[in-house]
């Protein structure tokens, strides 16, 4: 059985995700997303992976969520208000699809032979992570650096374009 901290963090994570998608104002949605990402970081800590948890907090809660908040506030507010509600048939389909996915995963997990596993085999693994990143996966790190640089250049190019009229 799960302990109390895990249950609390599960509520925070799932609740934050629901708020992110269903809040009326999209600013609250962005804050809900940040809370959800924070809950995921807490789950990483519970999984005895503190390095990943701290990375999640710095990158997701610290950078991505703040970036999203800035973008939301940059765009005029009335535009978010008029957000059209999708048709109820679509909504029903979406809910149904989500529930089906959750149940499929749940059945697969409960029926598997690892579901009762409760011992964490791993130490927190700072040393191992460092060794893996700097030896076997050094090329991946380099490619990732290139991808990040390319994305920064792309974002700058996109946002620095002169205003040009495009026929709608």
């Amino acid at each position: 059985m799960a302990d109390a901290i895990f249950l609390a963090m599960m509520v925070v994570t799932v609740g934050g995700a629901i708020v992110a998608l269903e809040a009326e104002e999209i600013v609250y949605g962005a804050i809900g997303l940040a809370v959800s990402l924070f809950g995921v970081a807490a789950l990483f800590f519970l999984l005895n992976a503190p390095y990943v948890g701290v990375f999640q907090i710095t990158v997701y809660v610290g950078a991505v969520a703040v970036l999203i908040l800035f973008t939301v506030m940059l765009v005029k507010e009335e535009k978010w208000k008029k957000e059209v509600a999708s048709r109820s048939a679509t909504k029903l389909l979406g809910i149904l699809l989500g529930i089906v996915v959750v149940f499929a995963f749940a059945l697969a997990v409960i029926g598997s032979n690892f579901s009762g596993e409760t011992t964490l085999n791993n130490p927190s693994g700072f040393l191992q992570i460092g060794q893996l990143i700097s030896t076997s996966y050094a090329p991946v790190l380099l490619v990732l650096a290139l991808v990040l640089a390319a994305s920064v250049v792309g974002a700058l190019t996109l946002s620095s374009q002169e205003k040009q009229e495009v026929g709608n």
């Binding site: 059985m1 990402l37 995921v40 973008t71 535009k79 979406g94 409760t118």
Partner: protein, 101 residues
């Protein structure tokens, strides 16, 4: 103690919520939220399986890479949203006809 299935179930719930968002929402930023939620569900799975069933740190390493990739992706999507808003004064993806292939 928490078992592996607890973490995988949380991940499944997040994934279901993300799929729901992708199907029903039309606002570009809501779609971005849904994608982020799905990425996080995948990350939880990676770390959970690695920590419970393996003795190395491969899962954690992959999740570090995955988080960095997701950050790059978010930066590009947000700048596209800003440009689309500047050109069309709208962020509803069903209205952005000129982006259609």
């Amino acid at each position: 103690m928490n078992s592996l299935s607890d973490f995988v179930l949380v991940s499944a719930m997040l994934f279901g919520i993300g799929i729901y968002g992708l199907v029903t929402k039309k606002n570009a930023l809501r779609l971005l939220f849904a994608v982020e939620i799905i990425i996080n569900a995948a990350n939880i799975n990676f770390v959970a399986f690695s920590q419970f069933l393996q003795t190395n740190a491969l899962g954690q390493t992959f999740v570090l890479f995955s988080i960095a990739l997701a950050a790059a992706e978010t930066a590009v999507i947000l700048s596209i949203v800003v440009v689309a808003y500047r050109l069309h004064k709208d962020v509803d993806v069903s209205e952005l006809k000129s982006l259609r292939g």
